[in-house]
Amino acid sequence: MAQAIQLPSLGMARPTHREEEPNRRQWSPVKSMESPVWLREAYDRISALAALKNNWDTYGGLPVASRAILGARVLLSNLDLEGFPKPHLAPIPDGGIGLHWRILGRDLEIEVEASGVVRYLKTHVGGESTDGEVRSLQDAQEALNWVLGT
């Protein structure tokens, strides 16, 4: 049975990215908007998705839920994304957000559902796929590292 990630604890979890020197002294962790270079653009894309109205796809697609927006933002601000290309960010008809990376034949889709549940789908080079729930930032980072082949 899927279980919703507790978003506040996501945010308070141990940062998985490299700690940035100017921010080391402070307590409330922040991530620079400069790194990776596409982060600014990805955030703008999420803001655009947040503005979608009912029936945005003409097939009855729901507006993107605020929990999905929050979940996608928290994921992007807590993962170590250095070296990764910008993900394709797309709305999902049930009110979620999908983040998709394709690197050297490996596909990773991370879906933040309207309820806040986060799931992944890995599609391997040969075409077989595995899926599961992302229960922590560590799970998400491991899935990302997989798509990079590390």
């Binding site: 978003l7 506040p8 945010g11 308070m12 940062p15 700690e19 100017p22 080391r24 002294r25 402070q26 307590w27 409330s28 962790p29 922040v30 991530k31 620079s32 908007m33 400069e34 982060l39 600014r40 955030y43 929050l70 996608a72 933002r73 928290v74 994921l75 992007l76 601000s77 807590n78």
Partner: protein
């Protein structure tokens, strides 16, 4: 608030011993990488093993709103608002706490024969998160918040910048210290919100390591932080903050 001092002969066991003394007030800890540049040494093959692996320890109180950071040449005390509704603790509330904790640290250092810390620098930092949508919208137009900073638009070839980062420093009279200002577009990791992080750090070199002198320096640093903040930020932002 922080003091930087000459390196102490502070070894790994001292973290545990010190924590034992403050544990009733700071029951949680985290081990973090040190601040600044350090040499890491590890040699298990020589006639005498060398293990030099500097760390910094965080000691956190039960309410998770106060933090002591210790490494062999730094002592910090941080406060943060645990929830948006929690009362704001002012400098006047926090300074006596810092003074007491510093005295407790010095007593520990003295008892463990590391000598009194020779304080090289006193520091007061204010970290402000300015949420996007509250008085400002665009990372490329920081002049709404900081009227003297300009737009950074190109004269013709360049359009608006995507983001702007700023670092500025101001020298105190008689070269006693500096106010450093850092403006950084950032994302707050706890809720993924886009913010401008405005950090003002006043630092100065004390004439001695006497507590009264150290407290005077903290007061000076704090005055520069408060007056600097007021001087750099716009009237419009002041109005918004007064309303909150």
């Amino acid at each position: 608030m922080a003091f930087a001092f000459g390196p102490l002969r502070w070894m790994v066991p001292h973290f545990g011993l010190f924590w034992n003394e403050i544990r009733a007030d700071y029951p949680k800890f985290e081990v973090r990488p040190p601040i600044g540049q350090f040499d890491f040494e590890f040699n298990a093959m020589g006639p005498e093993a060398i293990v030099k692996f500097p760390v910094r320890c965080w000691f956190i109180n039960d309410e998770s709103n106060r933090l002591i950071q210790v490494q062999n040449n730094l002592f910090f005390h941080n406060w943060r608002r645990p929830t948006p509704d929690a009362p704001y603790l002012h400098y006047g509330d926090l300074k006596p706490v810092f003074e007491n904790e510093w005295k407790r640290f010095c007593a520990f250092v003295g008892r463990n024969e590391m000598g009194p810390p020779n304080v090289l620098s006193c520091e007061v930092s204010y970290v402000n998160h300015l949420d996007r949508g509250v008085g400002w919208q665009s990372f490329s137009d920081l002049s709404v918040v900081f009227p003297s900073f300009g737009s950074f638009n190109g004269r013709g070839f360049l359009a608006k910048p995507e983001t702007v980062l700023l670092n500025a420093s101001y020298v105190m009279p008689s070269n006693e210290g500096r106010l450093r200002v850092q403006v950084q577009p950032a994302i707050r990791q706890s809720d993924g919100k886009e913010i401008i992080q405005l950090t003002l750090t006043g630092s100065c070199r004390p004439a001695s390591s006497e507590v009264t002198e150290l407290m005077r320096c903290l007061d000076l640093c704090r005055e520069w932080v408060v007056r600097g903040f007021d001087d750099l930020t716009s009237e419009n932002m002041h109005k918004i903050w007064r309303k909150k």
